[in-house]
């Protein structure tokens, strides 16, 4: 293990412990612990001493240990209390520390307390004698009225475990199963074939076709698998081009950029979307599949068009014609037919959620059940699903939940005088930070770190209601997907880079430009368009 | 009843006299009576006819409705064989009947019947013959007796023939075996001759080829020298970005450098990689070929300059490789020419160690994988044709390689054997030669190889033995105490062989 990783481990662990030694004003003990988990997660997610999905699982584990009623912290520690000693009727002797001004705290169950007014009768060495009608033989007075445990009612550990089966996780699982079956039966490749055909052979049109297909597929499948499949389409094209034809670079960039942007279009397009939706769900706000698309698709179209124009301008084609190899036939076996039907029906139900009211997560279980029942996907494919991506998202969701529950998010937000900035500036800052961060770290992680804060900000009422919770969360999800300036920014970028067709500066310049323009478009939409859709 | 055309006495075949005590019954008395009875009958008298030599009584395949009872003279029977030739199958003498078979079966004549000495015969038509019992009972009786005699004779004859056949078969078999042996011997002799002719042909071919290769190889070598001089001059005179002295040093280093062994190369590469981590590995590997003392000459050369001068070094190195390779070709050609000396045998006093060394060089590819140990102290010359001796060494060395398979130790030694003889031993570390096949391995066509596709062709050892015998030498085989076969050649030294 190299030094960098060891340092990351040490720093992360130290930051986890640090809040426990501080007494931050206005933050509960649980808030302190959550802050520690947040800092550890941030360091581990960003520097990756352990895999990011392992960090997610670590987050859930730490929450169970430190924040749940079943965790050892609450199992093994109790709030110190003492039984009052009767002196005479309604006069009791209690430990001196128990007296808090003119009241004492009565311990009811576990950490729940009730204040009771008392009047001091006599002060002794270590004890005081008080008069109160609230005390009785069975009551216990809290010896340390300032104890950290007080007034925190730890949730059951199932609350944190639930993150692993959060509806949005199930929605993604449904998407994964569909995508896995699509890859198995070459549905993605065959759709590509069919869609590309009308685009002809002119380089500009070919690029447009490729980008459109990529974006569409990546809206429903993983951006990674989509990019890989499209690379198998373009590698033969690139091979027939002149080595110094700059169109090669353009086309090699078009695919990953279209995949990144396309992921924005649907809730299942890319994990940051899930983080936003999951966090909103925790706030009791449900965003329907179709509703998300209405928010996102205009952005996607505008950005795709911009990317298309940009790449063709910067990397024009030398030739007049590009020939695509588009042979192949649809698989017409029974299982493949089942897949086509299930796929079509699922997407239809997702998009039409507003009409029938079935939540997208409920619909997502249909392909899971149907495709496994018909053995369209089997053990091998199930094993091969990207479970670690689901866990990664679950950790993000669990962290968001804890930050809200413990008041940490609100506390962090309170550190900055947001009210001095305009609401519009605030979402601009969030979007920019999300896009900037996700250039260097996983998009999911960036969203996981930022969305809870943004949501608290919306819920805190600090901002005027022109910026809703939804817009705040969504802009972060979009921003996370728009960070695509570096090869390490997203898996599609990494795949495109590894073909050796590109140099990093090509990708950095174009990616940065697209990120900035995309964010600008998103902000414009956020200002003028989205508020019309979100009540 | 009608078992044969005739009963006949043997005689014409020349082999078949009757065994003693098996004499044929004398029929002359019966014949005389037949003649008498026939002449007595007016009807039959005119049937007694005379035929001169050469007359055909019967023609094979035709129909003839007469039976001849021979009273005098002889008739030969011929059967047509393939291709129009006729084979005499029997001789018919007085007392025998001709045409009896056709009479019995109704078939056309079975054979030709030709008169050889003038014949007197009683010729009866089938009709007459059939009615004899009624018309001439006495004659009929006599003729019956003759026919019986014929049959008896015929049976006896068959037994004798079987006996003869058996004897003949045995003889024939013996002769055939002998013939086969002769053919085999002839074949192996022929193989040997072909082999020798092949070798001679190969020799001529190789010599021709060697000559052809020699010219371009020499030209290459010469050009290498000229190129070297020219390049050195270019380095001196053409001003460039590099200091000509340093460049010259790199050039010379390239000309004289040996490719380092892999371990050295690796350690140099590692050292360079440590010092210059930003350089790519292929480049470092090329730099690692330059001897470190050249790189660190004087104050040391900065890596950029070394990289600039790398082509100069490599040009020198490549030129050197061309030179070494061309020299190898030239040496190989020289040796090939000696080895495959064409033309008729020229006996001379030869140092057999030279031949062994040449042969090893030619067989370099085959012996490369073995540990070759030479123990060749000076020995007196022997009188022989060096080309043919080389063939012996080739056979022995090749054999040894074959016996060892993939690895082993090949040991060749020579020395004096007694006062006036010289020995050479070729020892391998293979399985050795089992006692029971020790002599057989010198037989032609003996091989332990599964496919005799090498140019020993399985007769290498027998040829070697013959070649050595021509010069008064011999070839023997034994096993070394430590395992492996030892082939030992002994030849008379030149002073004594005259």
């Amino acid at each position: 293990m190299d030094t960098k990783k060891i340092i990351a481990l040490v720093v992360g662990s130290a930051l986890f412990l640090l809040p426990l030694f501080l007494d931050l004003d206005g933050l509960s003990l649980m808030g302190h612990i959550t802050l520690g988990i947040f800092l550890l997660a941030a360091v581990f997610w960003i520097l990756e001493p352990i895999p990011i999905y392992a960090t997610s699982l670590m987050v859930i584990f730490l929450q169970i240990v430190f924040l749940s009623a079943q965790g050892p912290l609450f199992q093994m520690n109790e709030v110190p209390s003492a039984a009052p000693i009767p002196v005479e009727a309604e006069v009791w002797e209690i430990p001196r520390q128990a007296l808090d001004g003119d009241r004492v705290l009565l311990l009811e169950e576990r950490n729940r307390t009730e204040a009771a007014e008392v009047s001091l009768v006599e002060s002794r060495a270590d004890t005081v004698v008080v008069r109160s009608d609230r005390l009785s033989e069975g009551t216990r007075v809290v010896i340390d009225p300032g104890h950290w445990f007080l007034d925190f009612d730890p949730p059951s550990y199932t609350k944190y475990l639930n993150a692993l089966a959060n509806p949005i996780i199930i929605l993604f699982l449904g998407g994964f199963v569909l995508a896995s079956a699509a890859v198995k039966y070459e549905l993605d490749r065959n759709l590509t074939r069919v869609i590309l055909r009308p685009f002809g052979t002119r380089p500009a049109m070919v690029t447009m076709g490729l980008m459109l297909v990529t974006a569409t597929l990546s809206a429903f499948m993983s951006n990674t698998a989509t990019t890989a499949m499209m690379m198998t389409v373009i590698i033969p094209i690139v091979a027939q081009l002149d080595p110094d034809d700059r169109y090669r670079i353009g086309i090699a960039l078009a695919i990953p950029f279209a995949a990144n942007v396309g992921g924005i279009a649907t809730p299942i397009g890319t994990p940051p979307n899930a983080i936003a939706i999951g966090a909103l769900q925790a706030q009791g706000i449900d965003i329907a599949f179709g509703q998300w698309m209405v928010l996102a698709v205009p952005l996607v179209i505008v950005v795709l068009f911009f990317v298309w124009w940009l790449l063709l301008t910067v990397y024009p084609a030398k030739g007049e014609r590009i020939t695509l190899e588009l042979s192949g036939t649809f698989n017409l076996s029974g299982k493949a037919i089942v897949l086509y039907v299930v796929f079509g029906l699922t997407v239809f139900l997702w998009v039409t959620e507003a009409w029938h009211g079935l939540s997208s997560s409920v619909v997502a279980f249909f392909p899971i059940a149907a495709l496994t029942a018909f053995r369209v996907i089997e053990k091998d494919e199930i094993r091969n699903l990207s479970w670690e991506v689901l866990w990664l998202m679950a950790g993000g969701i669990a962290l968001g939940v804890a930050m809200r529950d413990t008041g940490l998010a609100e506390w962090l937000i309170g550190m900055i005088r947001w009210d001095l900035m305009g609401a519009f500036v605030v979402i601009g800052v969030f979007g920019l930070v999300a896009a900037g961060l996700s250039n260097f770290i996983s998009n999911t992680v960036a969203a996981s770190l930022l969305v809870p804060l943004a949501i608290s900000l919306g819920a805190s009422g600090i901002l005027t209601d022109s910026v809703s919770l939804e817009i705040n969360a969504v802009i972060i999800a979009f921003g996370a997907s728009l960070g695509m300036a570096l090869p390490i920014s997203t898996p599609p970028n990494a795949i495109a880079m590894s073909t050796g067709l590109l140099r990093t500066p090509d990708m950095a310049k174009m990616g940065l430009l697209i990120g900035v323009v995309g964010l600008a478009v998103a902000l414009v939409l956020a200002r003028f368009f989205w508020p019309l859709l979100i009540g | 009843m009608c078992a044969g055309e005739t009963g006949s006495t043997p005689g014409s075949s020349g082999t078949g006299d009757l065994p003693p005590g098996e004499r044929r019954r004398d029929t002359s008395r019966v014949v005389a009576e037949v003649r008498r009875l026939a002449e007595a009958s007016s009807e039959l008298r005119e049937r007694i006819r005379k035929f001169d030599s050469g007359v055909l009584l019967l023609r094979e395949g035709e129909r003839h409705d007469e039976i001849f009872c021979l009273l005098d003279g002889t008739v030969k029977l011929y059967k047509r064989a393939s291709a129009g030739t006729k084979i005499a199958v029997d001789v018919v003498r007085p007392g025998d009947l001709v045409g009896l078979l056709s009479y019995c079966t109704g078939n056309p004549n079975f054979t030709d019947a030709a008169v050889t000495t003038p014949v007197t015969a009683l010729a009866l038509s089938f009709e007459q013959f059939g009615s004899l019992a009624g018309s001439a009972p006495e004659l009929y009786e006599r003729l019956q007796s003759l026919i019986r005699d014929n049959l008896t004779e015929r049976y006896r004859r068959m037994v004798v023939l079987h006996l003869e056949l058996a004897t003949l078969n045995t003889t024939l078999e013996n002769e055939r075996d002998e013939l086969r042996r002769t053919v085999l011997e002839l074949e192996s002799t022929r193989n040997r001759l072909v082999q020798q002719e092949k070798m001679a042909m190969l020799g001529r071919l190789v010599a021709g080829l060697a000559h052809e290769i020699n010219n371009p190889a020499s030209a290459t070598l010469r050009s290498v020298d000229y190129l070297g001089e020219a390049f050195a001059e270019v380095l001196e005179k053409v001003p460039g970005q590099v200091d000509s002295g340093t460049a010259r040093r790199f050039w010379d280093a390239g000309l004289s450098a040996r490719l380092p062994d892999t371990a050295t190369q690796r350690s140099r590469l590692d050292a360079l990689a440590r010092d210059h981590p930003r350089l790519s590995r292929p480049l470092l590997r090329r730099l690692a070929a330059i001897p470190p003392e050249v790189l660190r000459f004087g104050t040391g050369i900065d890596p950029d300059e070394a990289i600039r001068l790398l082509p100069v070094f490599e040009a020198g190195l490549n030129l050197q490789i061309i030179r070494v390779s061309s020299e190898r070709i030239r040496d190989l050609v020289v040796n090939l020419k000696k080895y495959a000396r064409p033309g008729p045998a020229g006996e001379a006093a030869v140092d057999l160690r030279e031949g062994i060394r040449e042969t090893l060089l030619i067989l370099r590819g085959a012996v490369r994988r073995f540990d070759v140990q030479l123990d060749l102290p000076p020995v007196p010359p022997v009188r022989a044709d060096p080309g043919r001796l080389s063939q012996v060494w080739t056979n022995l060395i090749y054999n040894a390689c074959e016996a060892m398979g993939q690895q082993g130790r090949l040991r060749i030694s020579c020395g004096p054997a007694g006062d006036d003889r010289v020995f050479v031993t070729v020892q391998d570390s293979g399985p050795g030669v089992p006692e029971e096949i020790r002599e057989r391995i010198f037989q032609p066509n003996f091989t332990t190889k599964e496919q005799a596709n090498h140019f020993g062709l399985g007769i290498g050892l027998s040829i070697s033995r013959e070649i050595l015998a021509d010069y008064g030498g011999e070839l023997t085989v034994g096993n070394a105490p430590e395992g492996g076969a030892v082939f030992r050649v002994e030849l008379p030294a030149a002073e004594n062989s005259g």
């Binding site: 990674t224 898996p491 | 490719l259 590995r281 292929p282």
Partner: protein
């Protein structure tokens, strides 16, 4: 550290030099090591494994002093740490039986005859290392540019996993 090496074993220094030169374009991704004999090769492989690198591909001559190539390959096939390593017989001198032996017992996947064409050698190295990478289950992206991109991209599509970002 954690590099995938190519090893060439041949007793002719000229051959080693030429092979290293032919494979130079891949060397940034796959360091080329050379050994002049089976013994040296085995020592070298031990070092490679010890320093945490892996051996992806071996080009091995057959006729060499000491242990021959086919026997070396058979021996290497049984080494722990070389599972999946692609073995190539690289010779002009292996007979029919040796080659059969090499295929059956050492599991060689290719036979490159000498003299060789540079293009063929590079293609063989590329194909074999692509297979090695896919079989080893490692992230193929960092090395993809040196290898068969179509196969590797298809592999990524099937596996739907990339070790950078997400």
């Amino acid at each position: 550290m954690d590099k995938i090496c190519i090893l060439c074993v041949d007793d002719e220094p000229d051959v080693l030099r030429a092979v290293a030169r032919d494979l130079a374009e891949m060397e940034e991704g796959f360091p080329v090591e050379t050994a002049a004999s089976a013994e040296e090769a085995k020592g070298l492989i031990g070092e490679i494994l010890k320093r945490g690198d892996r051996l992806g591909l071996v080009f091995c001559d057959h006729v060499m002093p000491g242990q021959n190539g086919v026997d070396l390959l058979i021996e290497l096939r049984g080494w722990p740490g070389l599972q999946g390593t692609r073995l190539v017989l690289f010779t002009g001198q292996a007979g029919h039986e040796d080659t059969v032996e090499a295929i059956n017992r050492a599991g060689i996947t290719r036979y490159v005859a000498k003299p060789w064409e540079r293009e063929l050698l590079v293609r063989v190295a590329r194909d074999e290392l692509t297979s090695y990478l896919i079989e080893s289950g490692r992230d193929p992206l960092p090395l993809m540019r040196y290898l068969d991109q179509e196969r590797l991209v298809e592999y990524v599509r099937r596996r739907n996993r990339v070790d950078t970002g997400q």
